[in-house]
Subunit: 217 residues, 2 copies
DNA sequence: TTTTTATCAGTATTATTATATCGATATTGT
DNA sequence: ACAATATCGATATAATAATACTGATAAAAA
């Protein structure tokens, strides 16, 4: 749970923000200026009250009965909240196809994160470029992080290398780690780890599907 | 929330299963036969009670005071739960680097999902292979899904194509969609959509980091 | 054999998140 | 100007998830 000008935004609400932004942008491109919570709720298949609360939690101004909220203000508030305008540099470790996908991910920089270098252990990759980002040898991780004061590390290395890489990042002074390896990472207390575990999502999907199929029979 | 032999597994517990499996496998490889909830909790930085409840929810046998749970049984139960042994076929739409990463993802089939074909609109990709999986032209999506009775579709296409692709999948009889495009998909009631939104995770990470940095100053 | 101890199962409590309800109010149409 | 209506904010309730507590018990130690 996070606070922004004495308002509280829940973790779940934060995860919904990108979807709101997407919808608001669409409306904005249609020259619409205000929108109500129920309208957005309908478009995103969410509960009306939930959307209104989320809007209230980020919006710097109040919504008006009947009219709703100002789209441009909501967008500005959400972008501010998500750190669109203050970019922080990041590095990525493991220069495989996942790294490539992440590097070329549209709207990455919008979230205040800019990938400056990639690392890999494979000598074949080293020296090459991915979307304009150089791939360096993995021994230099801590060194470069320290010199460039990098705060964010992204791990797309294979599971068996993830902990080693993680330790190097921490040694280099990295504060937040975005981990795509399907393993738990041990880190000191103060380090943030955000796990992006395909396996976990797959587990949920697979289970849900099993349920759904059972119903069909 | 899901039921398995009159036990209830929460969605959150399900997401933790892959982590448990990972740890249990490590212990098993060290020839250890039983493990207690607090031990696993410590390794994964989780609450002891949470782990015990999760174990109780999947385990076919009870844990023993002082000794804990049988590792091999827990593993068998978790694998069964996640559908390790009954594979369902899936297709992936959008044959870019993300698709490649997913296709080559280790242990994919473990979750009961096997990718049989990829699709793309780009004529350059069509006919090529990614890790042994053929890339076909996107017009054939519904047709192939229907003919092969595919139940799972994975969308790695760009945001602006996602809804079109989604509609084609639904038209082809797909029941569950794993969506990597950072947009909301409109689907009929009965279709399952699992969103894997990098933007949403990034939003959380970025916000957390901002908080953490504030503390440091 | 008795005591100690780690762990369990079950129940209670708390925290978080989602949804429902209701009176107040700005806008629209009569 | 007035009534109808969509939407708001606020408060209340419900659902879900996490954590704390307690007495019972199997295994290890004395």
């Amino acid at each position: 749970m996070y606070k922004e000008n004495n308002k509280t935004i829940t973790a779940q609400a934060l995860r919904r923000m990108p979807y709101y932004i997407q919808q608001l942008r669409i409306l904005q491109s249609e020259k619409i200026e205000t929108v109500s919570a129920p309208k957005i709720a309908e478009r995103l298949n969410l509960n009306e009250v939930q959307v209104r609360k989320d809007f209230a939690a980020v919006s710097s101004t109040k919504g008006k009965p009947k009219a709703g909220f100002s789209i441009s203000e909501l967008l500005a508030n959400m972008e501010e909240l998500l750190g669109y305008h203050n970019s922080d540099e990041a590095i990525i470790v493991g220069a495989g196809s996942l790294a490539q996908a992440i590097i070329s991910y549209e709207g990455f920089q919008n979230y205040g994160i800019k990938i400056v270098t990639a690392f890999d252990v494979n000598p074949q990759c080293i020296g090459t470029e991915i979307n304009g980002i150089k791939v360096l040898t993995a021994d230099k991780i801590s060194d470069l992080c320290r010199r460039m004061k990098i705060h964010i590390g992204i791990i797309t290395a294979p599971a068996h290398q993830a902990q080693v890489v993680c330790d190097q990042l921490v040694a280099g002074g990295v504060l937040a780690i975005w981990n795509f390896a399907p393993v738990h990472l041990s880190v000191p207390e103060h380090i943030l780890v955000q796990n992006e575990n395909l396996a976990a999502s797959l587990a949920v999907l697979s289970k849900q599907l099993k349920q759904a199929m059972k119903k069909l029979n």
